[in-house]
Subunit: 311 residues, 6 copies
């Protein structure tokens, strides 16, 4: 029996966005490779060749994703390292490693919550922006650890994702305040904010953070007031393409999110979705592999995802 | 005939907010003093005493205004300086100076527009926040001077005054772009912004700027990218109370401006109207008396408004 | 009757340090000039000439003092301005102005206390260094104004003047904490310090502050954490010599203040008494003439002390 | 006799650059006004009207000069202040003030040398850029005061004016070192530079310094290493036009100064003569009226040159 | 024979502080594991299980130590890596590696001295704070290398450990100066300090340095004057707990160290022992594995101590 | 047959500078080791001993080179790792790895060009200093990728290597501008420079960059204007000696390069060839192993060149 249909289907499902979300894409891809492990093959070399082809197809199914090449590269890194094993052992080893990897990914959020909660101190006033799963998990975890924190949420124009964050934290019992995005600088000082924590869309090889528009000016405010600025994210969001020099393109979204079309005739409306926070503004990144300085992004990419230039 | 009714009426109109707006209050007050100049009096000393009493009443009619004490103090400064004149000459001199002052105030906006337009350079990309008469006047004046500028306006949550600015500039023919408040840091870099210009609610004695919430974090962005940050304002907005150490209290406005009441139960909503931009972030202040560094605020208060501590 | 004995005596008393303390020296000197006003003289020109000579003698009696030339210069500035008056009017005017000046100086501390207290906000946590009359007056005044402040005092090695400050504030009922000088950076953050306030030994023409050793590194800490750094001082401490380019020489005090002589053989012990805080680190200076930015020091020297180069 | 020929001739000589150099232009202009004082006139008002016309003509003879309007404005400021004097007294007063002003200008360099030398400390290592009369005077004056200074000169490409400075200082006996412009950052650290001192082409109303290309990056180096950065200049170089918002246009000079024409075909060569150093990088400005912070530039313009907007 | 008694005894000795000092604790713990290697066991798996239990017990004997988990983790990392060896080879390999590790630790100080001395340059003026073995070793090593350095020591209130440093350096012949902690900012400039070097209590995963109170404000001074700030420490001081997000708790010591109890009634006395220096202020860390940037702390922890999250 | 002659000859050729250039030296050295692989030897241990001796000789042939120890250490790292292989396999493996390494080095420039070109964005205005192969390759590669960039070259006194860069870029069709070194600060702002890119002489273990004199002040300008500062270099330029604490000595070149000898009698002329740019000013380093933050320099040295302290 051939595993091709699974591969092709996975590729199609990723392409058509039937499978979406950074983590789900990554897991689907490596599961497809797990099934390919069982495919007929004369020897390890032949199977490896098939896997290489599958990896290429999977990676090209969503060229702008970050988690996809990370996951696939990791599996292929393990595969290449074990290419001298007899085919049976190779299948067993690779399949085991894939399942271990999937498990790690699935537990990553929980691990980050635990580590991030350690970073929070009793009595901390914490500011967050937009809505991030990792941040909400960390803060509710800290609250359950009986750390009496308070949280300030920005509304996060234009789509007001800050409402989701405020709701989630408030429901968990955490004293929560909502402010407009423009009030960050004043309120950081007036409310004695101790820490800023945000999620991540992408972490670049040099430690720069791509995140929801508005993040970078909050980082400036934190720097000016010597407040710790923390990013919290699964390591699968670290970008291998940026190691190759690729510049993350900032998505330009529909102006209608900002203002009703036609309301301001003749006025151009720009609606960028993300911005870039330089590594120098980031105190630490909380990942499922622990707390790292942003400059260790390259290290993590190499160590965890076996990323390697073919030169 | 006594001018008391005029004084009392002006005081009442200011108190009841029938007269409002920084400039209108200032002009009404000094006009009341002008009428008092003609009041019966035995000699200059007696008239001066009446004026002093009138000045006190006027200044207490809106204790938090900035323009009111400035205008009244200026008139009284001229009055005290001429106290040795015979009463006829005193009336004539003071009345003349009051009318000159009113004229200056009425022409101030135009003068600022002209000076501010000189500061703009052909091809400049300029960012502004909220909606300021002085800023709109400067930019349209520069455009009429055939300087091919472009302007980026923030929407200015929560009340979207940026729409007014964008409309006014666009109507004048200036290429105008609208962005959300959170996009300032990214767009300042991407669109190669050359200058930021904003109005002022108040200028403090040490050069600090009180202006619409969000101004101070734009100033941080400008500093980081070495972009000139300019405030443009009539000198009547300079605060004499701050010379006495008074701290400008930041108005806390209705949370309903930010979010529909009850929408986020249990979440506190804070809605400060202004923030403070430190003098060190301000490249220059454009006033009707010319371009000054923010640290010359104290100088202007002394020179123009005869501000003096009674020690 | 000649006033010479008074002049000579005052000069001697200042030289022998019988008269000491910035304010006392200044007042003694101008009082000597007041008595000289009554000296026999043919006309105003002749009297003025005598005063000029007296002024020179007084100023040279303590060449390193700052308050002395300020006070004498101020009186001579008034004298020169009135040189066209008949001698009787001249005597009257000058004497009146001298007494007004003395009164102002004597009330200066109280005025500063009032203005400085206005700058303090309810709930402020305030850090101070060494022991300054103006600072203690401001803080106790703010406390009497029912502003619930807290104060952190440094011990201020080597002479522990911080003990005096802590005692004075604590006796006034203010919650007071004592820390070592090295703990400033940590405690400023941990205790959420809102403002730093210190006195002054000298203010230079360019706004730099000479004050008790340790002040400048506290200013660095305040800058890093965006905490307001305030100096509070009588304007008579502003240095006219620095307008002429003179560099304030930092007094090197007895090493025995630091460590028992001979305890560390072969180790050089240095014990500078003051250090220099750059104007850029100072948010404002509270004087009896109001709150000014440090860069207005030159302005105040010109306006208040009639300081003028003879070129 | 009419003084018109003198006025017309002066205007012509300035226009044709027969009279050149900031100081010479200024002095020629006010001397022309001095002669106009003696012109036939019915009364002071009539004479004043003629002077106003003359002032306008003089100022328009070299619109980009800075010293010219300063000098002319100063004289007219005195004239306007004395407009109520009888014509004889008016002539006398104005002529006297003009001659006093000319004397002050002629002594300014010497006064600056003396004040600037006070700022230098024994053992100082001082870096300078390009060739400035005021700087050379200050340094040689300090050397004559027996302050054992050392000086580092940049060569100051493209015209190597640093050679002139090095020659002058070395001839005076001062230990002098020449480096290329690019070596400033390294050498400032390696040779423990204590102060940087430069001249000025123009000082703007907000304290910014326009000076020889390369100055602003030396100021960045000084800031990074906390080295005092001092500008030394006659106050006649302070720009009144910048009070009106005028932006100093940076002169673009002949590329042939940089590279032999045709040597690099297809490569554009740009050769700007000056650059702008922000006020925040300047520790102090040494003028003939004393040491001032850059932010006092506006103050000096008002006080010394009677600069006033006609609003 | 069972090695349990050795394990239990070591645990007890660490708990009762009979064994103390970062290095001694670490060495005792791994020596206990070395003895456990020889314990009876059916196969490698069984022995490994015993070692894991021993490791847990050892690590919990002093939960706040940093060197203890580092040393134990390292040994267990080697153990786990060799778990597939036959038991005899396993014992041999592990025991060999433990002894190698102990040797490395014992030689670490000497290695750091050598590397750190390389960093020092002839003629350097060096400032240090408190008393650190690594720093004293580096400086005396540099002196023996004939580098003519000079050293400034702070007294290091409240316990004056600076005296120990000054004594040690002075005895070694190095020209040594003692200053109070508050004089750092002034003296760094006046004495042209080239480098600051301090020891470490703990290095965090993101490169932050925990060291004797006062260190962080010295780092601010060094940054402001662009002076290199160097930490020198054995890698065993790098904190694995901080990788897990744990925040180092700053020890609050007895106020009696600061001031005689009761001397200042009603005044709270706080006496924190350490403070935190952000990674951005640290030029480099000298370890026995070479010079690293602070951001490589995470890298070293992973590479040297086999630290791994069990996720 | 003995490979000694090859070793001795290579050592001699490097010593006599017959072989020169960082890359050529490195390749010659490892090729000599490749030949030594084939030398007669009883077993792997014996061969390894010979190789160790050869490595030592090669490394000492040019003690100040950076590429030489990197290349030799890498080969020896591979050799030591394979010391347990039978001699035949050992020879084969080592020889294979050496050839792979040589290939990588030879392809490194091309790889860097490709990665660096990815970093460039369409429309970028890029500033470069001096003349660097990697920079020219990156920029021409970006141009071939149809990215419409513009480049500003400094002339790079004293030897005008900027001419070479300008010529190369202009010949490739890139719009190129030449400026003097002093014009960087002004032009960076006026021409809206987006990125600075330079080569490297050496990268230190803590991420500092040693490069052509003038580089560090360009980095200051870039920081002030928030412009990305990029270094591009083969990883073989990373300095292993700096891991050991060695400070890179800045070469002092002939003053005659700066000015004709004797032209300025009595003036000392200093001509340093390089300066040091702190890691904090560097946004990223482009290497053949991808984009890294400067703080990953230590990581790369360890990973790629097997650099290890023998402690």
């Amino acid at each position: 029996m051939s595993s091709r249909p699974v591969l092709e289907e996975t590729v199609k499902d990723i392409k058509t966005m039937k499978i979406r979300g950074a983590l789900d894409i990554a897991i689907a891809a490596v599961k497809a490779l797990d099934i390919m492990c069982m495919e007929d093959a004369h020897d390890t070399a032949a199977l490896l060749e098939k896997l290489r082809m599958g990896a290429r197809k999977l990676k090209s199914s969503r060229p702008t994703a970050v988690s996809l090449p990370n996951a696939v590269n990791y599996v292929m890194y393990v595969a290449e390292k074990n290419k001298d094993l007899p085919i049976h052992d190779f299948r067993k080893t690779l399949s085991f490693e894939i399942r271990k990897f999937v498990g790690e990914q699935e537990r990553a959020l929980e691990t980050i919550a635990e580590i991030g909660a350690n970073v929070m101190e009793p009595g901390d006033v914490i500011l967050t922006h937009c809505n991030s799963d990792t941040v909400v998990s960390i803060l509710t975890h800290a609250w359950k650890d009986a750390k009496k924190i308070e949280v300030i949420c920005t509304e996060s124009r234009p789509r007001y994702q800050g409402y989701l964050t405020a709701k989630a934290l408030s429901s968990a019992g955490i004293p929560t305040t909502l402010i407009i995005d423009s009030a960050v600088h004043l309120m950081m000082k007036k409310l004695h904010v101790d820490k800023v924590i945000v999620g991540a869309d992408t972490i670049c090889a040099n430690g720069d953070l791509i995140n929801k528009i508005g993040t970078s000016q909050i980082a400036l405010c934190a720097k000016e007031q010597d407040v710790d600025f923390i990013a919290a994210t699964e390591s699968i969001k670290f970008s291998p393409a940026s190691v190759m020099g690729s510049v993350v393109e900032i998505e330009e979204r529909d102006p209608a999110e900002v203002i009703e079309p036609g309301k301001l005739r003749g006025v151009r409306v720009l609606n960028p979705a993300f911005d870039v926070t330089d590594a120098e503004y980031i105190s630490m990144i909380v990942t499922e592999y622990g707390v790292i300085p942003p400059q260790a992004a390259y290290h993590l990419l190499k160590e965890k995802f076996g990323w390697e230039l073919n030169i």
